[in-house]
Amino acid sequence: MPAAAVELDGLVKRYGDRAAVDGVSFRVQRGELLALLGTNGAGKTTIIEICEGFRVPDAGRVRVLGADPVADAATVRPKVGVMLQDGVGGYTGARARELLELFARYAAHPHDVGELLELVGLAEHAGTQVKRLSGGQQQRLSLAMALVGRPELLFLDEPTTGMDPQARRITWDLIRRLRADGVSVVLTTHYLDEAEELADHVVVLNAGQIVAEGTPAELTRAGASGEVRFSAEPGLPAAELQASLPPGARVSEPLTGHYLVRSEVTPQLLAAITAWCADREVLANGLTVERRSLEDVFLALTTDRPDTEPAGPATGAGARLAGRAARR
């Protein structure tokens, strides 16, 4: 059984009086994709740079592929691909292809440089100087540089920042394929949809501490996770509708003729609502479903509202998770 891809235990990093990372522990299994989610200054980059061996923690233990990323750098680095946060971080006077070829020459079994350039959509820019590439193109080159040595573990620090939506889709597809082929990935992001789309496991950070973690489904499912609205003739018996729905659903008529069902949103819930309406020959208009997104969870967790419960549909989970944060 090989060691975990990444293992952090009680990690602390201080800059002066401020703890940028304050007691963080998590584990990334082989072949897993973990997303570190948080606002700027939450400690994401500090954690990833400790894993990359650029920074030494003040306390706690780091293991990357079973080894110490600083003391065993010579054995760890050839196995790890890295995408730094700001720009390519390579020779900006070189052409895109030259820089990728250089990185390929560091590796024993590199990918074909031409194929990789094509894959990240830079084949036409192979002869362009790196400094003349757009921000999004530089990000894609940077990703190719991280991949070219066929690493078993990738650290991607905000991989899609500065990309247009199409480039972002290409990158997401690529990251999914990496994962499918067995590469372990740790990525940081402040895009919630990115974490939701890609991650097996999400760690939500706020002010250097973990405030929530789990699969995207676990995080969004926790508590009252969504609502269904529809309009119909006024004065329907809300209690009767509620009784016909799965347990936990709450039905109200906040405005005359407008109904609100709060519940975990499942296909069964929608079927039950429409069946109940059909039984009564009621036409439900404008039926809308709002699932609780990771964004709701994230905002509930990272917005500072001491001593007040977050309002709205996120209440249950927000309070529970915030309670966990307060205990730490």
Partner: protein, 267 residues
Amino acid sequence: MTGVRADRLTASGRELSFRPAPGANRLPAMLAAQTRMELRLLLRNGEQVGLTLVIPLLLEFFFNLPLLYSLGTPRRIDFVVPSVLALAVMSASFTGLAIGTGFERKYAVLKRLGATALPRQVLIGGKTCAVLILQVLQATLICGFGLALGWHPAASGWEAVPLVVAGTFAFGGLGLLLAGTVRAEITLAAANLVWLVLLFAGGIAIPLSRYPGPASDVLRYLPSAALSDGLHQVLQHGGGQPVRALVTLLVWAALALPAAARYFRWE
């Protein structure tokens, strides 16, 4: 050919496998690739080419004109060529290396390379090889131009090789020490200023014999003066291996290289 093309098209995109197969390349292959990249960037950078190739040749031409000041020698060109060679070594291994490395540090190039399989020694080795190759190019141009201007070297000049290598390590160590410890903008200013000061006060453009005795006794231990003095002894006077100049350069190298290794901050 069409078959190959079709293969590539399917291999690209959908078929590429990312199954991990990590590992570092052999060190000589890395060193060769690194040297090639460093050299390519040096020759592509207009400022570097100006500093290391154009300015030395221009100075070789102008210092050979008898209108500036007397060099105290009947054949100006025999003095000028060794001086310009010393200047070229200083330009490439001190000023050029310091400025290039300083900005690589600023733009996180060194940090990014630090996250690859490339060992630091191979990075430094690649820079050293690139500078040495550049110096061969410089020497070829300067000597060729000198011969065209009527230069008669006093010796075959092989004794100059150890001097140039020792000078490269001394100046390279000082350049890396500067680049690794202060901001890139300060490195830029300081490396140019030191270059200019050493050109005139460091025994290159003006013979130290024209300075007052006490001053020249101190100045001759500057690396620029040791290199220039040594090259003059070999190439102008044909005096065999100049031991004091060589030892002076080796002492500078022995001080500067460990200091650079110790105080160099990679980001």
